[in-house]
Amino acid sequence: MDDVEVIAARLRDACALPELLAASFDAFEAIRVVARGSEDLAPWLFAVFMTAADAAVDGTQAIAIAPSLSLAPTVTMIVAPHAAGADIDTVADALAALGELLDERLTHAADRAVLAGDRAACQEAAQAGRRIHQLMAGDGNDRHLR
């Protein structure tokens, strides 16, 4: 779960929009990789991790077309797909927290974005972050697969 912590720190520290978008892209990608790697860890959470990975793809794709996302090649860490040593609740809590952080930071960014494309991307990606939080939190209230 250290990789997720590093990405969360990048999200918290990002000041400019391009920086936040790049960190968000990597955060969604990290959620996807970890969720995919956790699908088989507990059969009763199969649908949870499958749906969270799907929401993470929604987030990644929303960010991908933000005008302010840098076109230059960027470098990011490889996230381990299997959270070695971490129990399933720790993994789920970490992803829930990251989803909540994405929601918070991207909602804030959407309010301040100048370009309509950035605003729409941040809103959609924030929604994906919110879904991930709802899916992964122990007290979530998710009714839909949509």
Partner: protein, 486 residues
């Protein structure tokens, strides 16, 4: 309950039989009414024949190859009935100003028969649509059944039965003593011609069917054709018991089947990787939960001592389902990376909406929490088998839900595969550009997918459809054994 063609065909036949059983001479006003209803019946029968998939008479005459005997029979029957209808059109015109008695039992029976036959044709037509170019399009999974040669032959046989019953009785309506008053003499002759043509039509089919009779199965299938209307939406309430969940899942699956076909033919929602990804996600979750349900039913069938054959079939269906859902997960994984591009504001499709409800209901059947959702807060252990099916009849109910869900998933898969193939052929598949180093990934924007990736995705759909078809087939057998609704 959805109406079937048999619901209209059988009463129509009974009313015709009741009308022709009246041997007393009809008063003139009733005779006029009967002629008008005979006209309605004949026009309806002509419409049925117009709907059958045969060439028009001119194309048939110009065809280089000889027509098949079946096609020739349809054409002969249609020509005869059209001539009869033309004659009756004249007869009805001459009766336009006469007083008719529509209350006579014979007239009422003929009128009811015409109404039932017209409604039956309307029911069959719900399975077809007319394209903007004017061609007839199939819009349901039953449509190919309706146009199949065995069912078309069975329908032709029913038309012939009606014609042969009507012909001798309606000939009596042409007698001079039956048509009195100021009615022109040509009216009786027109009715006689129509009766004769009706008999010729029926006899043509009868002769053909004497050589090649339509099968009893085709006749049963014809009568079982349902109206193509989606059942009304039932919102998942969170308080549904097993029987409600099973019924709701069957309704969702049927609505999904219909939405899938309609969606595939609409340009309003151009298919995108996002919709295919959601479909694969839902299919994987439904399959995973279905396996859980079928494992529970296997145990319950043993507890209820339903017999080794049923236990083995439920177990076999569970095994087949366990092979199917991982193939859907593999497809979802493909769409993590590959994309058709981002289409902002496309909204959710009707298929996604139905899939969402189906996931909830199948999930709630599989797991103990009646408020189950694909969220960690609602996750729970699997449902107790005794709770899933307290009595043997409950097993049938739950199997019907899993069966229809599996069938709907397989059908959506086939639609998605065609759309994916079209996207691949049109070079609409993209992947992000990644370069891996020791500890980092260099990411660039999307580029066209490589040929190997383009080949992989449809191949994964082939695997998923094959595995899902196998699972559905096992569930077909189980549903038949249990006499489960499908």
């Amino acid at each position: 309950m959805t109406a079937t063609f048999g619901d209209f065909l059988h009463p129509a036949g009974e009313h015709i039989a009741a009308a022709v059983s009246i041997h007393d001479e009809l008063p003139a006003e009733a005779t006029f009414g009967a002629i008008c209803q005979f006209g309605r019946l004949l026009f309806t029968l002509v419409h049925y024949l117009d709907d059958l998939p045969v060439p028009d008479e001119f194309s048939a005459a110009m065809a280089a190859e000889p027509l098949s005997p079946e096609t020739q029979t349809v054409l002969d029957t249609r020509i005869a009935l059209r001539r009869g209808a033309q004659s009756l059109r004249y007869a009805m015109t001459t009766l336009a100003d006469t007083v008719t008695d529509d209350s006579h039992p014979a007239v009422r029976h003929l009128s009811a028969a015409a109404g039932f036959l017209a409604a039956g044709r309307d029911l069959l037509q719900t399975h077809f649509a007319t394209s903007p170019g004017g061609t007839r399009e199939l819009r349901s999974y039953w449509a190919p059944v309706i146009t199949s040669p065995p069912v078309a032959a069975a329908l032709l046989g029913e038309i012939a039965t009606c014609a042969l019953r009507l012909a001798p009785w309606t000939a009596r309506l042409s007698m001079p003593e039956a048509i009195a008053g100021d009615v022109p003499a040509g009216t009786g002759l027109a009715v006689l011609t129509a009766s004769h043509c009706t008999w010729v039509a029926g006899a043509a089919v009868q002769a053909a069917h004497r050589r090649h009779p339509p099968s009893a199965d085709a006749h049963r299938l014809l009568c079982a054709i349902p109206a193509h209307f989606p059942p009304p939406w039932v919102e998942p309430s969170g308080h549904e018991q097993v029987s409600d969940l099973s019924h709701g899942a069957i309704v969702n699956a049927e609505r999904l089947r219909q939405a899938g076909l309609a969606f595939a033919r609409q340009a309003r929602w151009p298919p995108t990787s996002a919709s295919w990804r959601k479909d694969a996600l839902a299919a994987a979750i439904i399959g995973h939960a279905s396996e859980v349900i079928l494992r529970g039913l296997t145990e319950r069938a043993r507890q209820l001592t339903l017999g080794p054959a049923i236990c083995a079939q439920v177990h076999s269906a569970a095994d087949a389902t366990s092979q199917a859902w991982p193939t859907w997960r593999a497809i979802a994984h493909h769409w993590d990376i590959a994309s058709t591009g981002i289409h902002r504001g496309a909204g959710f499709t009707p298929v996604a909406a139905e899939f969402g409800d189906l996931v909830l209901r199948i999930g709630r059947l599989a797991y103990g929490n009646q408020h189950w959702t694909p969220a960690r807060a609602h996750a729970s252990q699997t449902r107790n088998p005794a709770d899933l099916a307290p009595a043997p009849g409950d097993i049938t109910c739950v199997v019907a839900a899993v069966h229809t869900a599996a069938d709907a998933v397989t059908r959506i898969a086939a639609e998605d595969r065609e759309a994916v193939r079209a996207a691949a052929a049109n070079h609409r598949l993209y992947v992000p550009s990644f370069t891996r180093t020791n500890a980092a990934v260099v990411r660039r924007r999307y580029r066209p997918a490589s040929p190997s990736r383009i080949d992989e995705i449809p191949a994964s759909y082939d695997d998923a459809i094959e595995a899902s078809t196998r699972a559905t087939s096992k569930l077909d057998d189980l549903a038949l054994r249990l006499d489960a609704p499908t």
